[in-house]
Each structure stands twice: as structure tokens, then as C-alpha cells.
């Protein structure tokens, strides 16, 4: 196994996530695409971690931190989506024009 095969796969997942964030209108689907990008970052971290083989296991520890922060982000994000849906009865990102003049 070479380290680059994991990095290229992670780059692929990351760019698919970027496509999803740009093209989806539904907010929940945008959050799903962000999860895809975070997973790509985690693959990168763990691949580098086992490539470097450091004593502090930094790659895996920081992958764990990313997973935790992503869980927090999903909780807050879905709460905000729920609130917006309650106020505007829509979760499409292009219909949220309250801050547009």
C-alpha cells in the first residue's frame, strides 16, 4: 500500500462533496455533502498518521477530534435548519434572501 492511493481517494471524495455543496438546494443535503468532505479529511489524517508512525498517534487523535466536532456541527446545523423551516416553511438555500437587499 502506498500513501498516495489514500490521498487521491480522499481528494476524489472531497471534490464530490464540493460539487454537492454547490449544486444542492436542500439544506439537509448540503450538510450531507459537508460530511462527505469531512470524511475525506479524516481519511487523509489517518493515512498520514500511519505513514509517519509517530509515537503520539497524532493523525488518529486528530481524526477523532474532527469526528467529534463534526457531530457537534451536525447537531447545531440541523437545529438551525429546523428553526428556518419553522419560520419560512422552506429549507431551500436559494429561497433564504432575508439578508439580501
Amino acid at each position: 500500500m502506498i500513501v498516495n492511493q489514500f490521498l487521491v481517494l480522499a481528494a476524489l471524495l472531497f471534490s464530490i462533496g464540493i460539487y454537492g455543496v454547490l449544486v444542492r438546494r436542500n439544506m439537509v443535503l448540503v450538510l450531507l455533502s459537508i460530511e462527505l468532505m469531512l470524511t475525506a479529511v479524516n481519511i487523509n489524517l489517518v493515512a498520514f498518521g500511519s505513514y509517519v508512525q509517530d509515537a503520539l498517534v497524532a493523525g488518529q487523535v486528530f481524526a477523532l477530534f474532527v469526528i467529534t466536532v463534526a457531530a457537534a456541527e451536525v447537531g447545531i446545523g440541523l437545529a438551525i435548519v429546523l428553526l428556518i423551516f419553522r419560520n419560512r416553511s422552506s429549507v431551500n438555500v436559494d429561497e433564504l434572501d432575508l439578508l439580501k437587499w
Partner: protein
């Protein structure tokens, strides 16, 4: 490295199968006309990522991914989809923007940039063997990384309280 040499390693065949499954399911996540299917396809992608972590010797991270992501986050997403009563029928026009090609172009350019950079930087650098035991992660997490660990715990607590405050109905109304 020649492709023939690379594929002669059995682990690389396993990697190729997992990568193919992850690629197809990730594409379905961003292109599926059905919201619930998109969320369920993310499960497949994350399971593939967990399998890759096992291949890399990161067993604890793999199981954390399965428990936290597939177990909790996806269920949260499904709740979000159900509660917002999003269109569950097959209607791709209402789920996607009209202009898909600029987004695809941006994604392709990102992929080419990152892949070219990593290929130029690492070429054929091999990953050494070795499994990180959960004990090692626990040791290092509660000694060297104890302050970041506590900070992340605090972030989780703040997110928990914030989620409750945001999603709760205002009692005065």
C-alpha cells in the same frame, strides 16, 4: 510504480473494491433525486471509510466512525429530513440548482489540483505496517492531548445546549 506491481498486492485489490464502492455511493449522495436514499448512500461511503481505517491499522477510529457517524449522525440526518417534510418523491429539479456544470467544473479542478500535488509530493512512498492499539490512543489522549480533549468535550456540551435552545419552541408564544 507500475500498475501491475501495485495490483499484485492483495490488499490493493481490497482497496480498489472499497474505493469503487465509496466513489459510486458518494456520487449517489450528491446526485440522488431521493433525500432518504442520499442519506443512506452516505452510510455506505462512511462504512467504506471505516474499512479503509481498519486497513490502515486505525481500529479505534474505525469503530468510532461506525458508532458516531453511522449510528448517530445519519439517524439525526434522517430525522432532519423527516421533520422538514422535504419532497421525498423523485423530483431532481427541486433538489438541485439548474446550473450543474460550473459546480462540476469547480469540483474537477479541485480534484486535479489536490491529486497532482499529492502525487508529485509522495509518489510511491509506502505505508509501513503496524496497528495502533486502542490502549495507545487512550494513553496519549489522556496525557499529551488532555487539554484539546477537554476543549472538545466543552464544544460538544455547548453544541448540545445550543441545539436544545435553537430547536425548542418559544414558550411565550
Amino acid at each position: 510504480m507500475e500498475f501491475g506491481d501495485w495490483i499484485s498486492d492483495a490488499r490493493n485489490i481490497v482497496f480498489l473494491v472499497i474505493a469503487l464502492i465509496m466513489f459510486v455511493s458518494a456520487v449517489r449522495v450528491v446526485s440522488s433525486p431521493n433525500l432518504v436514499h442520499a442519506a443512506l448512500m452516505l452510510v455506505l461511503t462512511l462504512a467504506g471509510a471505516a474499512a479503509l481505517f481498519v486497513m490502515l491499522g486505525a481500529e479505534f477510529v474505525a469503530w468510532t466512525l461506525v458508532l458516531v457517524y453511522i449510528g448517530a449522525v445519519i439517524v439525526l440526518f434522517l430525522f432532519g429530513i423527516m421533520i422538514t417534510r422535504a419532497p421525498t418523491g423523485r423530483d431532481p429539479v427541486r433538489l438541485d440548482h439548474e446550473r450543474r456544470w460550473p459546480a462540476a467544473l469547480v469540483a474537477l479542478a479541485t480534484f486535479i489540483t489536490i491529486a497532482a500535488a499529492t502525487t508529485a509530493a509522495f509518489e510511491d512512498a509506502a505505508i509501513p505496517e503496524g496497528v495502533v492499539r486502542t490502549e495507545d490512543i487512550g494513553d496519549v489522549l489522556f496525557s499529551r492531548y488532555v487539554i484539546p480533549f477537554e476543549a472538545v468535550s466543552f464544544v460538544l456540551l455547548a453544541a448540545l445546549i445550543g441545539g436544545i435552545v435553537l430547536a425548542r419552541k418559544d414558550p411565550e408564544k
